[in-house]
Symmetry: C2
Subunit: 167 residues, 2 copies
Amino acid sequence: MTQVHREQHAEGERTPFDEIERSLMQISWLAQRQFMQLLDDERFRLTVPQFYTLLHLEPLTEACKMSDLAEATHQSAASLTGVVDRLDEKQLIERVRDAKDRRQVMVAVTTYGRELVAEIKQARREQMQMALAHLAETEIEALMLLLDRVLAGMARTLERAEGGRLA
Amino acid sequence: MTQVHREQHAEGERTPFDEIERSLMQISWLAQRQFMQLLDDERFRLTVPQFYTLLHLEPLTEACKMSDLAEATHQSAASLTGVVDRLDEKQLIERVRDAKDRRQVMVAVTTYGRELVAEIKQARREQMQMALAHLAETEIEALMLLLDRVLAGMARTLERAEGGRLA
DNA sequence: CTAGATAATCAACAACATTTAGTATATCAC
DNA sequence: GTGATATACTAAATGTTGTTGATTATCTAG
């Protein structure tokens, strides 16, 4: 196992807050990493940008303009074209030129695309459950309490910041 | 602004739970994206894997073996070599061969590396505060309450899964 | 000393995302 | 129609990460 040596130096003051902040960051990294691996599964073969682009399209009844999609997913238009190309190859989305403004390309998720998103969500749910399966019920409860307190602390921080700015 | 058309189709049943799940996923994507952009700032010029590798080293008093670092950050050894190369170029870490086992390369964060991590954390905190600055105090409170309930719901899901498996 | 295991790196390559700049097409104002 | 603008795509170049398999150096067991 990896040995961990924590610092206690007097100047620099490593506070519990710092520890928690670091833990949250590390958890975020690991979760992201785990999700990446899930998406890379042979059933899906998606990358993270591809999935989130698809996810944005999935609930829409109507097709979405490329430019709107780029804005919504915070990707540049040129970058999005590549991502949408790859989704198109996999037949997860369809490109249709708008009848009214023939410059525009409207993108819509296909039925297969919707199915895949559903599968991925299901797999992710199972993955999360498995990730916590080794914890005892009491440990999960404790974890939840702690997370609640983290959120409460974040709320307080935000209130203070807000108060300071609006005073 | 992007027009959003939500689906109400009878089969398929779009539940509020689905909506929230999607929102959480989208928030996670946007947060990740925002963080990426922050790390790309001229002050830092880091990538996400580079930052989290550095983050893992930052609290350690002693240097860390490459293999342990790879395991901890969930990267392959070969992949990590490249990441550490780039951190080394930026003088954020130092490589030292272990005296006892000269095969091993020990990696340690430099003072400059620690400073940069601190700067990034600070910037991130400010970024988060700015992201929520446009919310009224009552809205933030409401948001926090809702997040609490999301977490509680997650806990229940986990308990059920746990109960089913252990029954 | 030798054989084999171990640690890290290297080499070669593929995939993806990203940027910049340029292009084709279509729309709109006049 | 003409010129300006808008929309999406393309091309080319870059950087990072990732994989696989070989390689180098080192240690350890016998």
